[in-house]
Amino acid sequence: MTTDVDTKAVTAPAVAAFGVSKRFPGVIANDDVNFDVRVGEVHALLGENGAGKTTLSNILTGLYRPDGGYLELSGQRVSFDSPRDAIDAGIGMVHQHFRLIPTFTVAENIALGAAQGGERILLDMAAVERRIAELGEQFELSVDPRARIWQLSVGEQQRVEILKVLYREARILIMDEPTAVLTPLEADALSQTLTSLTRQGRSVIFISHKLGEVISIADRITVLRQGRSVETIDAAGATRESLAAVMVGREVELVERRGVGALPGAPLVLSVGELSADGDRGLPALRSVSLDVRGGEIVAVAGVAGNGQRELVEVLAGLRPRTAGRIEVDGEVLDRADARHPIRMGVAYVPQDRLGTGLAPDLSIAENLVLKRYRRPPVSRPPFLRSSVIDAEADVLMEQFDVRAPSSQTPTRRLSGGNVQKVLLAREMSGRPKVLVVSTPTQGLDIGAVATVHQLLLDAAAEGVGVLLVSEDLDEVLALADRVVVMYEGSVTGVVEAADATIASLGVLMGGGSSEDVA
């Protein structure tokens, strides 16, 4: 019998799911999901938000038990009663948000929770460090075991997370959106790590919603749609368009910039000169940034999150005081840190935190649409607000921007992400702005909504509005922008015309390299 199992294990997939289903009250999160991960394979689970990726990974890691179906590891049926069981079976999860203690060393973090209770009282840290060094060598994951987490870069911290699961002898690694926090260079390094892992018999389940990266990183791709596994595709023959169509269930037209740029003689609608500002902790976060946006132009600000983009847009929106520098909107000086001032001068702003900052979630769509105009007629007739005007305008804007909701009285918290963004863009564009500042406008949206939002941004530009697009998604940046401003640690490391920009060249600048490094 044993030999029988062993021979089976050689050929059997590392993990396989058979008809896995998981229901929550009112939602079927996973519905008859089937896929198999070969030994030594990078297998992507691709799907939009709500397609069931997170539930599936929670089942694989023993956090949920499936209502139907089962899992096999190396051909043997398994049932996990707890996350501990999954870890013991050799499944390790690399979380998107790192679970590391900043003041502990790498070795301490890795030893944490890995030590089985009751074995011994004192931890042999030297042994842990030796083992980490060995693993690091074996899988080309170099990290100093004695370094403290806060001293490490994001990419290095991710390596620690990977080492953590390898230390627990995981043979199957689940990675949840691992590139979300990385620069393109760090993502390349991760890709090499994955190769090294799979070459040594480890298998990787790579969860993502980004079309480009699953094609370049994965061997095969299982697409999830509405909780079901739709199709497993070889990455070799896949294109972004074909994957998008499977993911959404219909043909999707991915919006591309038509290369118009600023109209000839278009005014300089936004001019930022040597702008500096402090971050929340009072340390300089924006260092002498200069950029220009002309009417009808889309200028992208690219960079890994946390490199001063947020501070930049907040200063532009009057929400953060500057420490130095100059801002001009259509030739007029904007000099006060007061949100009313930019609104009046024609700076529209769609913040990253759409429901938490851009909208009042408990208020209706109609009330949210007048959030920036409620002080002026015709909406305001002091001391009252005219609800007839508010409702009538809401109907027009909802029609124009195709906001799908039961009525204009629906609270915005009940809307889907795409409709929330449409309400925001409708409101900001209804103020007839000169500049539209948008921060990560498609983060978390599904593909259909992404295309709609991109089209709305192109429409805004076509109307002569200068668009400043802050985004971490380089596919989006390259698809929409006329010019790309790259930020790193609060400074501009380069300004690239879209025609000359590639992911690789932007990646160098995003990692702090200069334009000479690109050339």
Partner: protein
């Protein structure tokens, strides 16, 4: 692992709450409180049904009982509005109690200052204004501390209750203040000066029912507040600041100013209650009586049960006023004096528990197959 997951349940935020829950949850909470209260009564070997029946009769049904109930309801109406309007914007004003005292101090002060010769409507009007101003000043302190110095208003407003209580006691018991009666028996037993007859608030006699002016004033104010919240620019700002402070800032509102304004409005409402207490009922500044009543704290119960809706506050204050009134009437050897307070506490407890059900759904983890 949390206790909730150990017993196999978890609370999940509700995406939307159906409309019927707005009234069903407080009503059920109220009855749940009565149910728990009946356990307490059973322990003290009382018959809960007969006790509740007597409360119903003496609070609402017996002839003349409703007039007494209105008297008990009036201060609760004002302190209920005080809490409701402040809590709605996330300013947790626990200081209705102290603002009520200060309103009473100001209102009695102006009534005494105007003297017996003032015209009645001027005296009453002056008391209304003075009470509101006094309460507003008292609430301005925690308001400004919270808005500009990020101080926790729960603590500051609560502490100011004691300051106000001690202040009122000082005026009557420990000084020869303007408020204190120094002639007659007052020279021996400290007490406040009675306000002149012209400053005493009218009550309207509708045959079997007597409606105090303070209650009518409170009901009008409640309607005004409702319109203020739903229809005006300031009300819109209040709703945005209350629900989404960073959105308010983003939209160019001034959340700090809105908070200070709401704090003062809230304090003014409690102060009006203090003025009504002096004008309509006690006719004197009575620090001991005020502090025993605890109207400010009871107002928090009223506001919670009314789910912070000003119109609902009117009805809830009458219901709780009825229970209080019945408690006064029935207090005796066979009716525990602490029962009304116990019931009020239970009502608050159950209402807050019910509020959890409005915001969250209970999820049974075992049924979902999540190892608990």
């Amino acid at each position: 692992m949390s206790l909730a997951s150990r017993v196999g349940i978890r609370l999940e935020p509700r995406v939307d709450n159906p409309r019927w829950m707005n009234w069903a949850v407080p009503v059920c909470s109220f009855f749940a409180a009565l149910l728990v209260g009946s356990l307490v009564l059973l322990i003290t070997s009382q018959n809960p049904i007969s006790v509740y029946q007597r409360i119903l009769e003496r609070g609402f049904l017996d002839s003349g009982s409703l007039s007494g109930t209105f008297i008990s309801a009036t201060p609760l109406l004002f302190t209920g509005l005080c809490a409701a309007v402040a809590f709605k914007v996330g300013f947790f004003n626990i200081g209705g109690e102290g603002q009520f005292y200060v309103g009473a101090i100001f209102a009695s002060g102006i009534a005494l200052a105007l003297g017996a010769d003032a015209q009645s409507w001027i005296a009453v009007g002056a008391m209304v204004v003075a009470g509101a101003v006094g309460g507003a000043i008292w609430a301005f302190i925690p308001g400004i501390l919270r808005a500009y110095f990020r101080t926790n208003e729960i603590i500051t407003s609560l502490m100011l209750n004691y300051v106000a209580g001690i202040g009122a006691t000082y005026l009557i018991f420990e000084s020869d203040s303007f408020w204190r009666e120094l002639s007659g028996t007052g020279a021996v037993f400290p007490k406040g000066k009675i306000i002149p007859l012209s400053a005493q608030w009218p009550s309207f006699d509708l045959g079997s029912l007597v409606v105090p002016f303070g209650l009518i004033l409170g009901a009008v104010v409640a309607i005004w507040l409702h319109v203020l919240q739903r229809r005006t620019r300031f009300g819109y700002e209040m709703r945005v600041v209350g629900g989404a402070p960073s959105t308010a800032r983003y939209a160019g509102m001034r959340p700090a100013r809105v908070i200070v304004a709401v704090a003062m409005l809230s304090g003014a409402l409690a102060g009006l209650g203090g003025a009504a207490d002096v004008g309509n009922f006690r006719h004197v500044l009575d620090p001991k009586g005020l502090q025993q009543s605890g109207f400010g704290y009871a107002g928090i119960v009223v506001a919670a049960l009314a789910r912070l809706n000003p119109i609902a506050v009117v009805f809830v204050s009458i219901i709780l006023g009825g229970i209080t009134n019945a408690g006064y009437a029935l207090q005796g050897p066979d009716f525990p004096a602490g029962l009304v307070g116990t019931l009020e506490g239970l009502i608050l407890f159950c209402t807050l528990g019910g509020e959890v059900l409005v915001r969250y759904r209970i999820v049974n983890l075992r049924r979902q197959g999540v190892p608990a």
